[in-house]
Symmetry: C2
Subunit: 133 residues, 2 copies
DNA sequence: GCAATTACTTTACATTGTAAAGTGAGTTCG
DNA sequence: CGAACTCACTTTACAATGTAAAGTAATTGC
């Protein structure tokens, strides 16, 4: 009388290529650029610097910075440059650590991917008994 | 009478950290795992192999493979193993190239990020004239 | 003083990743 | 024989999210 389970087969424990360490908040094209910029300049960058460095529109950059600051990865400082308001963005200590951890996983992705170079040779046969979908 | 432009300031030409080469189709946690797996095994992998290697659910894996095959990055072969149907997935030639290109950009991201190691020292002062947001 | 610029923020929308449910062929058990 | 179950996926539904356009508030130029 045991009811049949309706939920789909759950994923395995932790696959060789699951890359659990790829933090979703960091693993985003635009955010990667922002973080790389901020990592290079430890003393912070202004909104417009980031905008130019990362080739983002104002709105786009603003939202991404919001995500990063809410995640505690960047900190925000308001100030004045001349008579115009300026906002400065800087990596937090833990943000720097999280980014470092992320980059370490990236390195392993690159390493994994470069194994392929060795298996690249081969005549590329159609596998016998298999038909194209 | 020139109308004021309503569209937001467009992004710059190509910023130092814009990472244009990060192909959206490839730059996705799950898909990265799938491609790394397939790159390692040039002769292809079965659905279940990928499922386990990448720790994905069936539905999830299916959709991602759909995206990758529609993009021409992986090719799909139907066959039989014993009496059960099996599908084999393999990188296409151009897919392998695209993945290689992507990984090269990843390497530059890692390199950019590791510049920070040098600027890591410092007493972390609050910048004078700036107030926390 | 009024239009335009600067420095962002907010809103609206379309894309998309994910889990749950569905499908259809094959196998097993009574 | 056929109902129940498994296997190998596919389809669907939904919530999350990245992006462009529009909005805002202060400041500057004419």
């Amino acid at each position: 009388m045991t009811r049949k389970r309706k939920t789909q087969t759950p994923p395995a424990e932790s696959g060789r290529f699951s890359y659990d360490g790829l933090d979703r908040v960091i693993h985003e094209k635009a955010r990667l650029g922002i973080l790389a910029s901020l990592a290079a300049r430890g003393d912070g960058l202004l909104f417009n610097d980031l905008k130019n460095l990362c080739s983002l529109t104002d709105g786009n950059l603003s939202r991404h910075l919001g995500v990063l600051s809410e995640a505690g990865i960047v900190e925000v400082w308001k100030g004045q440059q001349g008579s115009r308001p300026q906002t400065m963005y800087r990596l937090t200590v833990s943000g720097r650590q999280r980014f470092t951890d992320y980059v370490n996983v990236l390195e392993s992705v690159v390493a994994d991917a470069q194994v392929k170079m060795q298996s690249e040779a081969g005549p590329r046969t159609s596998p016998p008994g298999w038909a194209p979908a």
